[in-house]
Symmetry: C2
């Protein structure tokens, strides 16, 4: 047993690439036994996330699939489908991320699965709610960013419609799936029943963006005196083009001076204590009203000293400030070294790889047995054997291409 809050929870994972694998990686990190079911060609994510040392083992795949076991099943073959159903019978969770009509066609609808295991938590992630006109459309991270207003925020802030260069919709929706699954596991301890969960990406991301940026468009009629440009949408403080890392003599620094104490500390540190009395900047609400002036001032204020000098000054003044990290310097960050965030582990086939330890501490413990990301079909024999197949039956399945024993 692995340890951790989800110890003993068995998850059958039919997903691929990012959104599903991220969800099950989190479940696995906290103790679940995740069985990654792959087609004979494997998760597409094995190859599209950068070049690996061996085939099918790209770096992104390694991070998103640690602590899982891989079984290959060709679900188009009756024997592959039958094996999946045996796994489902002994599982707590089934996770999928294709369009719902594909699950119907594969005879993997909730009704099909529930007949075999009424306690199962059946969780699907897909693009769009099934009650709306986009129901059959395919979805990817970027087009959901564009449709849900993420790109519009970039447009308003930077002048050009852009995507955020991280698959934030996939990541967010994968995290939503973790929430829904753990809530359903908890509910099952009281009701004894499983349930079906549908997680549409578009609706989740619209909520993600509009929680913050519906802003004045929340009210009907509009609030008197509130901004009305763009129909009242958009938080002008977050969208201010000068809200950015501040240039120093040798790079950038990140400063967030919000309360009066912080802002006044900032003014003193940069040699402008007079601004404490300036009616534009003398209170939280004044700085909010004059946020463009405030941010424009800040961006010019720090060019006379280095980042390291400013960090010392701001730390002493309790003004929130952090180094601006590149990805390379982040890997060398001293605090991350202090907490042992990175560790070099020996992957049995991929050599030395840099793993990230779990960021969170749970006094009840977390998973203890780190498992490196599996080769395609690495655990097929073990998993099929646990499901009750004899060695001879497994040999036959291998010979018939129903499974693969190692990729």
């Amino acid at each position: 047993m692995a340890g951790g809050p989800l110890e003993g929870v068995r998850v059958i994972d039919l997903t691929s690439v990012v959104v599903g694998p991220l969800c099950t990686r989190i479940l696995a990190d906290y103790g679940a036994d995740v069985i990654k079911v792959e087609s004979p060609t494997g998760d597409l994510g094995r190859n599209i996330g950068g070049r690996g040392r061996t085939e099918n083992m790209g770096p992104k795949f390694l991070h998103l699939n640690r602590n899982k076991r891989s079984v290959v099943l060709d679900l188009k073959k009756p024997a592959g489908y039958a094996a999946l159903m045996r796994l489902v019978a002994g599982a707590d969770v089934l996770l999928w991320n294709v369009r719902p009509d594909s699950m119907q066609r594969m005879k993997l609808s909730y009704e099909d699965v529930r007949r075999v295991n009424p306690r199962i938590i059946y969780c699907g992630m897909f693009g769009f709610g099934q009650g709306g006109r986009y129901r059959s459309k395919p979805a990817y991270d970027t087009i959901i960013q564009g449709a849900s207003g993420v790109s519009a925020l970039m447009h308003r802030s930077f002048g050009d419609p852009r995507y955020v260069p991280i698959v934030m919709c996939d990541r967010t929706v994968g995290m939503v799936a973790v929430q829904m699954i753990t809530m359903a596991l908890f509910a099952r301890t009281r009701t004894g029943e499983g349930q079906s969960i549908e997680i549409p990406m578009f609706e989740n991301m619209a909520a993600y963006v509009l929680d913050e940026h519906m802003y004045q468009a929340t009210f009907d009629p509009p609030v008197e005196g509130a901004p009305t440009a763009h129909g009242g949408t958009g938080d002008p403080r977050l969208l201010s083009p000068d809200g950015r890392p501040l240039p120093t003599a040798d790079g950038w620094i990140c400063v967030s001076a919000n309360t009066d104490a912080q802002a006044f500390g900032f003014f003193r540190a940069v040699g402008r204590p007079d601004l404490i009395e300036d009616p534009r900047f003398c209170s939280v609400s004044a700085r909010h009203r004059n946020v463009r002036d405030y941010f424009a001032f800040r961006i010019e204020a720090l060019k006379g000293r280095t980042t390291a000098e400013w960090l010392d000054i701001f730390d002493a003044a309790d003004v929130p400030a952090m180094p601006y990290h590149t990805l390379e310097s982040l890997l060398e960050d001293a605090h991350l070294a202090d907490v042992g965030f990175f560790e070099w582990v020996d992957h049995p086939t991929e050599g030395r790889i840099r793993n990230m330890r779990l960021p969170n501490r749970l006094s009840g413990g977390v998973r203890e047995d780190y498992r490196p990301a599996p080769k395609l079909g690495q655990d097929s024999r073990e998993i099929l054997s646990e499901a009750g197949y004899s060695p001879e039956e497994i040999d036959r399945m291998l010979a018939e291409g129903v499974t693969r024993a190692r990729g």
Copy 2:
């Protein structure tokens, strides 16, 4: 009772602004009874998220605090602290987001709280792991973006270090807290014990960025032939400056053509079927290798027709495509109307407000009794009465400024 998977779970919420309130809003949306404990001046988030119709009721606050109840307690007064401890005694979860030493000073450490309620899940969100040198630093969304590599991604993609104009670190860490709390609730059904959970923003965001963008820096020694610029960090596909919404005759459109079928459909749709045979573009791996050329071609290809025309063409060809939405057009999206995503509700004090329904469907049901976001101290009498205080005692607490009954 509210309904939903977390029905009957009682959460004492000491948090403010975004990261904590988002976490407890999600818990509340799925059935938890969230008691928002506010100081006599209230959650700072009541006023910094846009102008409201009445004092302390800004639009962002309304979205992040629905389905909660508000009690005012001055925790600096012994009677306020005593009342909090009574609430804690009957609760399942205590959530906080100040620096850990502040919790110590307030006599609210895990040891203090556990003495009153050993089953409690004690969950803290703060900037930095307590084993590292940044342990005492304050944290805000932007400076964590800058320190965790989010700004570096923007820099590499757009040429300038910038923040993403949404509080993505706050939102991500709030979602992590939901995961940790629901996992701990589940674990408690088996162990009977609560636990303490520590969630540092910086470490969580470093993992968020580096899962995807550690990339070739995962390997030691480097993989032969893999890119080595920037120490091997960064997915060139996501960072490609031409990976963006594509201009059309009247605006932009979002297209994601990844598989061969999708890319070839795209080439045919734009009148360039010859590119199907082009060695730069004829396979997934070829397009990955030549991603800059591929993206540069796409960005010039769609200027001859309108977005609506292209959407019809791509839908017919099963090429994933979505409209590029502004925040205003997102509010009018036809699919969101189909699924009833937005609803106008009458807030008892704030007039008609636009609420967003829950994006996810759970066959076991979700919370049924929508509660609009509370005025400051709106539920003080009710909550203190539930905790066993008599009306006379509550009157005394009001007179002494230990609580407030309505803001």
